[in-house]
């Protein structure tokens, strides 16, 4: 294909009233664009302000926190708040302890739910069987059951099986509650792998195991990445189960529970609270920005479609 050079408008330049009209239109278009861009900035400011305010507060010394005129940017930025969070001056445990708990629970739960979810997604995406539709509808409903209701019953069961105050208990719950969405999203990816590819490989003598490893898995893996991002964010952010199951033992706390506990225990030291919240939030947001292209499609596919 040869590229066509883009020249200016081929319409001959008019004169007099025609020119004035065109100028007016151009001005209108320019001002419309300015207004739209200003509105866009306003929306971005509304969306970003709380997060930016959190970060800025985390760097403020106490004298600035309670000054009569709050400044958006700290006048005398300090790392003292972060030092308090890392040294654990409030709960007696460092931030690293809670980060370790959170990462352990989240990573294991995501791995388990991805593995179990992948098997189910292959069944739902690549097979026709009797209860397929019923199963999908059930998943959709299960996904929306209120967790603060189920937690009462789970608490009683977990107490019986000694799973309270234990990270293993949390892993089990997070795996289960990440599954419906994981299966729903992965199923679409599994369904899009063309059957011809598998058939061609079968004719070439590839067994089911080879076909799974060489064809199905590589083609589903982008989907696996985006579903694990969702599962990761769910498990890393989860609060209700952590609050109920890890009631008393601060050593076992995950990050969201730590931030809430820190706030509840010490609700005047806003600098340190915002520092702990920043350390908890920024990894999620960074993760989101890095993977957002995948997520945008996953959001639409996984959420609007179920």
């Amino acid at each position: 294909m040869t590229s066509v050079p883009l020249t200016g408008s081929t319409v001959p330049r008019g004169s007099g009233p025609d020119l004035r009209k065109r100028r007016a239109r151009r001005f209108n278009r320019a001002s419309r664009r300015t207004v739209l861009n200003l509105l866009g900035l306003l929306v971005a400011l509304f969306a970003l302000f709380p997060v930016l305010w959190m970060i800025s507060t985390a760097f403020k010394p106490p004298t600035e926190l309670y000054s009569l005129t709050p400044h958006p940017i700290p006048l005398h930025p300090t790392l003292a708040n972060f030092r308090n969070v890392f040294s654990g001056s409030v709960i007696g445990r460092s931030y690293w302890n809670f980060l370790r708990n959170s990462l352990f629970v989240t990573i294991v739960a995501v791995a388990l739910s991805s593995l179990i979810g992948l098997l189910a997604a292959i069944a739902l995406g690549r097979f026709k069987f009797k209860f397929r539709t019923t199963y999908l509808i059930l998943l959709l409903i299960v996904q929306l059951l209120p967790q603060q209701a189920l937690v009462v019953s789970l608490f009683i069961d977990f107490r019986k099986y000694n799973l309270l105050d234990s990270l293993v208990g949390l892993i089990v719950v997070y795996t289960a509650f990440a599954l419906p969405v994981t299966i729903w999203m992965l199923r679409n990816f599994a369904a899009t792998v063309p059957k011809d590819l598998e058939e061609a490989a079968a004719i070439d003598g590839a067994g089911a195991w080879t076909r799974f490893w060489r064809i199905l898995l590589p083609l589903i893996s982008p989907g696996l990445v985006s579903t694990s991002v969702f599962a990761f964010i769910f498990a890393y952010n989860e609060f209700v189960f952590a609050l109920t199951f890890l009631g008393t033992d601060t050593a076992k706390f995950t990050l969201p529970l730590y931030v809430e506990y820190f706030y509840g225990q010490n609700s005047t030291d806003w600098g340190a609270i915002m520092a702990s919240s920043t350390l908890f939030t920024i990894p999620v947001l960074a993760f989101f920005l890095v993977t957002q292209r995948r997520l945008a499609s996953g959001l639409v596919a996984g959420a609007v479609k179920g």
């Binding site: 861009n37 209701a149 931030v259």
Partner: protein, 356 residues
């Protein structure tokens, strides 16, 4: 060897496999005469025989679904059923510690919560909250979606990324941040309100105003927070929907003299109605069932006047002394209300082709 390697236990079978010659059934193939002897029928290992059985019975998908079904049944469905059972029992401190056995007490838990003033207050709070927040989030989200469609590509990316960050902020962080924004000492909201001219409702009386100690101010904060969290998802989804609409429709409407208002209501809205319905129902489920944000902004379980239905139910079980039976009854009510909305949502989602 090639045919038999198709049939490993737990691996997906394919249509290609079904065109292969039928495999002998049973371990020893006693009726050997009816089946032509294939290389695979001789010296089959146990694994291969299991694989053949799976394929013949079409059991592959069920085996693949087994682990997920077991986990979901044990940790989501069974607890849901158990809530129903507990709601008819006198499950409390004595029962959970094993001092006394549980007894079936019929509808007593339900009649107790239905006669509890706090239950009705919490139900009303949940209802009003959803009635305010859902439309507000939908309006803000749709307007932002329409705005995003009209922006240039760079600006659109910037604005939608900023919005997505608000959506991605964990509920715990958002709650703690908003608690700080509205804090009576040093909070930026009270400071800003003192600077607002008095004819707009601002003034010095806002200095040190406490937002979280009474239901109305607390739920005002929660309203702003949930709109802030919820609008990006709606904006991004509406934008995706808008992009599927052919531009000729808008042009035709413009030629016929329709302004942007009529264009939206006569062209865009009817075509995107299924998406709006799904979004509205999802938002209702989220906002009616809000827990984490309400728990943190209302100061944990300290103030029963400020409970929504989720907090009310949770408090029955997790404030001393615990009443798991009462909590289960309230949880059951909450679950049923949400299930009704969920059924509407599932129907709307299916109509939109969710199962395709």
């Amino acid at each position: 060897m090639v045919t038999s390697s198709h049939n490993r236990p737990g691996s997906p079978s394919s249509p290609a496999g079904s065109t292969l010659p039928p495999e002998p059934r049973g371990p020893r193939n006693p009726t050997g005469r009816s089946v032509p002897p294939t290389p695979a029928s001789l010296g089959l290992s146990f694994r291969q025989r299991v694989g053949i059985w799976i394929k013949k019975r079409g059991a592959g998908p069920y085996l693949l679904l087994l682990p997920a079904t077991a986990v979901i049944a044990a940790l989501i469905l069974y607890p849901a059923v158990q809530i129903g059972l507990f709601s008819f029992q006198n499950y409390g401190l004595m029962q959970i510690s094993g001092v006394l056995p549980t007894q079936w007490i019929g509808w007593a838990n339900y009649s107790q919560i239905l006669h509890d003033h706090e239950f009705w207050v919490s139900l009303k709070i949940s209802l009003y909250f959803a009635l305010v927040v859902v439309p507000l989030t939908m309006i803000v989200g749709t307007l932002v979606g329409l705005l995003l469609e009209r922006l240039g590509p760079k600006m659109r990316t910037f604005v939608s990324m900023s919005a997505i960050l608000a959506w991605a902020t964990p509920a715990v962080s958002a709650s703690v941040i908003f608690a700080w924004l509205v804090s009576p000492d040093g909070g930026v909201v009270d400071w800003a309100l003192t600077k607002v001219p008095s004819w707009l409702g601002g003034g010095a009386h806002w200095a040190g105003f406490s937002w979280t100690n009474a239901p109305l101010p607390a739920y005002t904060v929660l309203t702003v927070m949930l709109v802030w969290t919820g609008f990006p998802f709606i904006a991004v989804t509406v934008l995706a929907g808008l992009r599927t609409l052919p531009s000729e429709l808008h042009e035709a409407a413009r030629v016929d003299g329709a302004g942007p208002w009529r264009d939206f209501w006569k062209v865009t809205f009817p075509l995107l109605r299924p998406i709006f319905l799904v979004l509205a129902l999802l938002s209702t489920i989220w906002d009616f069932g809000m827990f984490t944000q309400a728990y943190i902004i209302n100061g944990q379980l300290g103030n029963p006047d400020q409970y929504n239905l989720g907090l009310y139910e949770y408090a029955q079980a997790f404030t001393q002394p615990p009443h798991y039976g009462l909590a289960s009854a309230a949880a059951f009510v909450l679950t049923i209300i949400l299930l009704i909305v969920t059924v509407g949502y599932v129907r709307a989602a299916i109509k939109q082709g969710a199962l395709a």
